[in-house]
């Protein structure tokens, strides 16, 4: 994008002043190079979101923003119900509560070196990954209802993991306000055999190594040390979430007009928060969040069993679990006054600063762990929320590297076998059912995650704690 279209606030904050139907400004947190690399559609989508009723402060984009559908991916927008604010199915996305969970293992790189191949094989066999894979859990109506209202708490009650895991999950593993009855039979049917599956695309389970520590105190609070082995799981609410998104996108696109909402793009489909459709979506979407939390909990259990077989002394403990496709009701201070807002984060992570009441005791001083997934061959990061992130964009930060190249172009540029061989030569083991899938996710198709994370830190969204390098990647 052309920088001249923005007003420079700082080196890492760029503003689009409101014009036309925009109710608030647009703000991108990124450096000049990252903005230059963004598609013009990101600009269009930020300004479109700024026209929605009841939007508060600004329409934000994170350093990893890219062209999405309706909202940009890497978009954050908060709405006030009292001012006619809306909830948008497009603003959450199809993969409701897609997120990252990281686990510490109590192992270091040298502990796994000689077991790497067998660990990769056992994980690949244990984790249902890619299109067409199914889990072993079959839920009847009662089980489905309990899962949709209980989330990871339900999963633990079924024997998938430990009670202790729950305190290190957003919402303590269970999203309140979920309405299982607002989830259609079709959505439930789509989930019938998909509990405990990874999905595909950019989803993965990675074994990673801590290669750099930036903030020793926070790293200690996160129980991370140099060379430690960490497991990170990136996935979401599977078919159930996709179906909820699909159905509400359509009904909101049709109903918006009836609610007197003029949409600059049909994909921004939304409904007033205080409307039957808005409430119905919120209930279903929260059930979708619980499905994602339960799914990551089951995958954690599967990863634990796999590690047990190869490295029995491994102890996989949940470091934290963050969702990056959500709309949540949160309290934020706007112009000195506390407000209950509905914060949409689409491809953006909540990043609570130190002292926040919603954080478990262990992170009260450090701030919330912010888990940033990179691409297969590069790096991932764990950041921590900052006190000022609240003032920046409702305590939000980036969620990953963000794509720089389309799948189509990537699959023409690389061949999956070659990508796997190249990574293997660098000591990174890839396990996947599809070469084309690997090519589409080639590291070169992503933005430079280092630049994205630096921009997030420089903009005051979150601070770097550790850098993780991939060792094994089970690709979804």
């Amino acid at each position: 994008m052309d920088l001249s279209r923005f007003e420079r606030v700082t080196d890492n904050e760029w503003r689009i002043n409101p014009v036309g139907a925009m109710r608030v400004p647009g703000i991108i947190y990124a450096d000049a190079d990252l903005i230059r690399g963004m598609d013009d559609k990101v600009y269009e989508q930020i300004t479109n979101v700024a026209t929605l009723p009841g939007i508060i402060k600004a329409s934000y984009a994170m350093p990893d923003a890219h062209w999405g559908y309706g909202f940009p991916i890497g978009g954050v927008a908060a709405f006030d119900a009292a001012q006619g604010g809306v909830v948008s199915a497009g603003g959450v996305g199809f993969d409701i509560s897609c997120g990252v969970r990281s686990l510490t293992t109590g192992l270091t790189r040298s502990d796994i070196e000689t077991h790497k191949d067998s660990l990769a094989d056992v994980l690949f066999a244990a984790i249902p990954a890619g299109l067409g894979s199914t889990g072993t859990i079959r839920l009847n109506d009662r089980g489905m209802q309990a899962m949709l209202t209980g989330g990871a708490r339900w999963a633990v009650s079924q024997g998938y993991g430990y009670q202790d895991d729950l305190q290190y999950i957003e919402e303590y593993g269970c999203m309140a306000g979920a309405l299982a009855e607002e989830v259609s039979q079709q959505a439930k049917r789509r989930q019938r055999d998909e509990m405990g599956t990874l999905g595909s695309g950019n989803h993965y389970l990675e074994v990673q190594q801590v290669i750099e520590i930036y903030d020793r105190n926070a790293a200690r609070a996160f129980a991370l040390h140099e060379n430690d082995i960490v497991v990170s799981i990136h996935c979401g609410s599977r078919g159930l979430g996709h179906q909820i998104g699909t159905e509400f996108l359509k009904s909101m696109a049709i109903a918006a007009h009836q609610y007197g909402i003029e949409l600059p793009d049909r994909e921004l489909a939304c409904a007033p928060i205080n409307s039957p459709l808005g409430e119905s979506y919120l209930g279903a979407m929260r059930a979708g969040i619980n499905c994602a939390l339960a799914n990551r909990q089951i995958l954690t259990h599967l990863a634990r069993r796999a590690f047990e077989r190869i490295l029995p002394r491994a102890e996989l403990s949940v470091l934290y679990d963050v969702s990056h496709n959500t709309c949540k009701q949160e309290e934020h201070v706007v112009d000195g006054k506390p407000m209950r807002l509905f914060v949409h984060r689409k491809g953006a992570t909540r990043a609570l600063g130190p002292g926040h009441a919603d954080l478990p005791e262990a992170f009260r001083e450090s701030g919330q762990p912010v888990l940033i997934g990179g691409s297969m061959g590069t790096a991932s990061y764990i950041l921590a929320g900052l006190p000022q992130s609240e003032q920046r964009c409702f305590a939000s930060a980036c969620h990953g590297a963000g794509r720089a190249m389309s799948r189509r172009k990537a699959s023409k540029q690389w061949h999956g076998r070659q990508v796997i061989d190249d990574l293997s030569a660098r000591g990174i083991l890839i396990r996947s059912h599809s070469y084309r899938g690997v090519a589409e996710e080639a590291p070169g198709a992503y933005k430079d995650v280092d630049a994205v994370v630096d921009a997030a830190e420089n903009a005051g969204l979150a601070r770097k704690v550790v850098k993780l390098a991939p060792v094994i990647c089970v690709k979804g």
């Binding site: 993969d95 079709q186 049709i254 189509r408």
Partner: protein, 178 residues
């Protein structure tokens, strides 16, 4: 494909009987099978989107454009030529305009793929732009053989267009989320 015969650029193909009796375009029908004409060339394509992928079908009629868009949907996942047409699924949808109808049609296919673990390679559509009755032929997904690259989560309203170009040819397109 079962005994595909090439005749003057068109393919004659045997497909299992489905969708309530003889297909309107079937040349011959027997107790178990219909013989249908398959266009010789694909008239679908993908177009770029930064994170996801655009699918586009074109055709002489709206129905053909919808059929081709569905082929483009399969091609996001796997090569449609590698998917055998051994099972048939009937699909019906209704929407207020042809664009939302396209999204419904594609999402109905996504749904059938997901719940029945199928991939589809042949489609037949009858539509007036508001109501659609169609049939999709395919087979159970076979991970080693089909090597599915990615799962389609749903069809979006982004870059959604159903229209005729200057030459009267129909275009049906949108971005799908993967």
């Amino acid at each position: 494909m079962d005994a595909a015969v090439e005749r003057t650029g068109m393919y004659l193909q045997r497909v299992p009987k489905a969708c309530g009796g003889k297909l309107p375009h079937a040349l011959v029908t027997t107790a178990k099978y219909d013989w249908i004409i398959v266009p010789p060339q694909r008239t679908w394509e993908h177009f770029s989107h930064q994170a996801d992928i655009g699918i586009r079908g074109t055709g002489a009629t709206l129905s053909e454009a919808f059929e081709q868009a569905a082929c483009a949907l399969t091609a996001v996942i796997t090569d449609p030529d590698g998917v055998r047409a051994t099972r048939a699924v009937e699909i019906r949808c209704e929407a207020r305009d042809p664009e939302l109808l396209l999204v419904d049609w594609l999402n109905a296919i996504v749904y059938e793929m997901a719940v029945q673990h199928l991939l589809f390679s042949r489609f037949e559509v009858r539509t007036d732009g508001h109501r659609l009755s169609g049939c999709a032929w395919g087979e159970a997904i076979d991970i080693p053989r089909h090597q599915p690259a990615v799962e389609v989560k749903g069809a979006t309203l982004t870059e959604l267009k159903v229209a005729q170009d200057d030459g009267g040819r129909w275009i049906a397109q949108c971005i799908v989320d993967v």
